[in-house]
């Protein structure tokens, strides 16, 4: 048998409870259980996380950079999505 590569997994760590998961990098492992363990040892051994997700690299679906224009730009002229678009009285609380 040739020397096969172990699988590559992308690792996402939730740094603190309630926060968003962040991509940390990738890790090699033969299966998902080992991927979780290896990720914890590699990316969270300094107690930098509350939760870890691993996904096989080949399962990641990505938008394409060349589509960046059509995919993201139309949002440019929809400024009403940003709170700063609106002028409200400073006296109004809770906004």
């Amino acid at each position: 048998m040739g020397d096969k590569n172990l699988l590559t997994w992308e690792v996402f760590i939730q740094p603190k409870n309630g926060t968003s998961f962040q991509h940390a990098g990738n890790v090699h492992a033969s299966d998902k259980e080992m991927a979780l363990q290896n990720s914890r040892d590699l990316y969270a051994r300094r107690r930098e996380g509350t939760c870890i997700w691993v996904v096989k690299t080949e399962d990641i679906v990505s938008s394409r950079p060349e589509d960046q224009g059509s995919f993201f730009d139309p949002a440019d002229d929809k400024l009403y999505r940003y709170p700063t678009f609106f002028k409200v009285s400073k006296k109004a609380k809770g906004l």
């Binding site: 172990l6 890790v27 090699h28 492992a29 033969s30 259980e33 080992m34 363990q37 290896n38 040892d41 590699l42 051994r45």
Partner: protein, 251 residues
Amino acid sequence: MANELLYKYVLSLGDDALILGQRLSQWAYKAPFLEEDIALSNISLDMFGRANLLLEYAAIIKGNDTTADDLAFKRNEREFKNHILSEQPNGNFADTMVRQFLLDAFYKLFYKELAESKDEQLSAIAQKSIKETTYHFRHSSNWIIRLGDGTAESHKKVQSAIDNLWMFTNELFEMNQTDNKMLAEKIGVNCLSIKAEWKQIIDEVLSEATLKIPKNIHMISGGREGIHTEHLGHLLSDMQYLQHAYPNAKW
């Protein structure tokens, strides 16, 4: 010394962690792949951390300004009280994982009991160790399963490791005079009481791994009395070298 028995007890636990930690640290840059290098050094660090806490406590009990380093680096072969299983050589990855697995299953149960100790220090150390031990057990049992139920070659290697190391497992549950006195004072653990559960854990994992426990094995023990296999002497002469070469130096 105020409490000779407590000293002996704590010292043994410290030695268990120290010697195992030292063995694991020998895997640096030699693991089957980098991720596993990190995993093994992680376990090694946990062991040394535990050893440090226990030996520091033992040093305090001994008194006379003894330090944990004094205990680690200046005692001789007959004064070490670790379980013989801990000092067995790393061998190949299967040998190391089997040694680890047998001990992790034991420590999981042992430290759970020790957390109930009347001795506050031991209880605190035990509570910290439980978290680590759970993680270690997950790692080693995962490997036993993957190696046992992997390829024909890995199966052969891990079965061979079990056949060779099984003889050191009885010692884990032996209760000597010190152990019994500590138990009576509600400080120490009743190792006999955790043997059945340990066996159950081992059976479960080995069964999933398609591995067998060898039959009719003559058990070896003696570590708590300072009777060790020949491996320990070499481990110590390497580990203690600098302190012996420069006895007046501070490091």
